[in-house]
């Protein structure tokens, strides 16, 4: 994937926080990594991509950020199933919005959500793995893009 294509994911991420909470999320410069595991946080939503691109899109965030985010949506809860559902929905929304650039052959799976940190998650070693750091209300999360053009 070209570095310039990261812009659509950054736009999707900032648009999500802006529209959902009215508070801007600040994104800093993306960087390349070899191993996703050290960046995984309390909850991780993963969207598998097939079609004209192959790979995955991750959104990973700490529990306190997701609790705050769900409260801004109007739901007061700390239930794990709802927090995991929301993380999946964030990742699905950011990946789905990218079809505005990549078209309808950018095919998405429904979200897979992981709870807790992992040391054994493996992603494609063919595609570069980009990490996009995001700060919202003083809390840090990461968007991870691992895509290869088919």
């Amino acid at each position: 994937m070209k570095d310039g294509n990261l812009e659509v994911f950054i736009d999707g991420l900032t648009n999500y926080f802006d529209k959902t909470t009215g508070t801007e999320a600040k994104v800093s410069t993306p960087f390349l990594i070899q191993d996703v595991n050290k960046y995984l946080s309390d909850y991780t939503g993963i969207i598998g991509i097939s079609g004209n691109y192959k790979g995955s899109v991750f959104f990973t965030a700490p529990k306190r950020m997701i609790i705050k985010l769900i409260s801004e949506i109007g739901l007061m809860t700390t239930r794990d199933d709802k927090l995991m559902d929301l993380v999946g929905e964030v990742s699905n929304t950011i990946a789905g919005n990218a079809r505005s650039v990549f078209g309808d052959q950018f095919m998405l799976t429904t979200p897979i959500v992981l709870q807790g940190k992992s040391e054994q998650l493996r992603v494609s070693s063919v595609a570069s793995i980009y990490v996009i750091p995001v700060v919202w209300k003083g809390m840090n999360a990461h968007l991870i893009i691992n895509l290869n053009q088919a």
Binding site: Y16, G74, K82, L86, N92, F102
Partner: protein, 121 residues
Amino acid sequence: MKFMVVDDSMVIREKIQNVLKDEDFEIVGTAQNGVEAVEQFKLLKPRVMTLDITMPLMDGIETIRQIIALDTDVRILVVSALADKSTLIQAMHLGAYGFLCKPFRDLELIEALEELIEDIV
């Protein structure tokens, strides 16, 4: 007006119900995939519904096809993150009345639904 919410995300289902609790809709049911949506639709016969596209078991496109086959008068607002034109065109061609891209502000949902039903209220 009888209303149904279809989305695989329980957070989105609850958000939509919360946004509409002070509006003139009677939420008669919710469903988390297309199969459930068609079953619920046959039982509850809602007049208006919101419908996600990316869902397990049966996606929103096939759900529109099956629900429109049951009732051509139902007003379906597609609420999806899929932001490409061909998904929009396909959904509208099959009988959806409107399309709202996720993420959405509360007011955008209300306005989209008001537009959807303006000629039947």
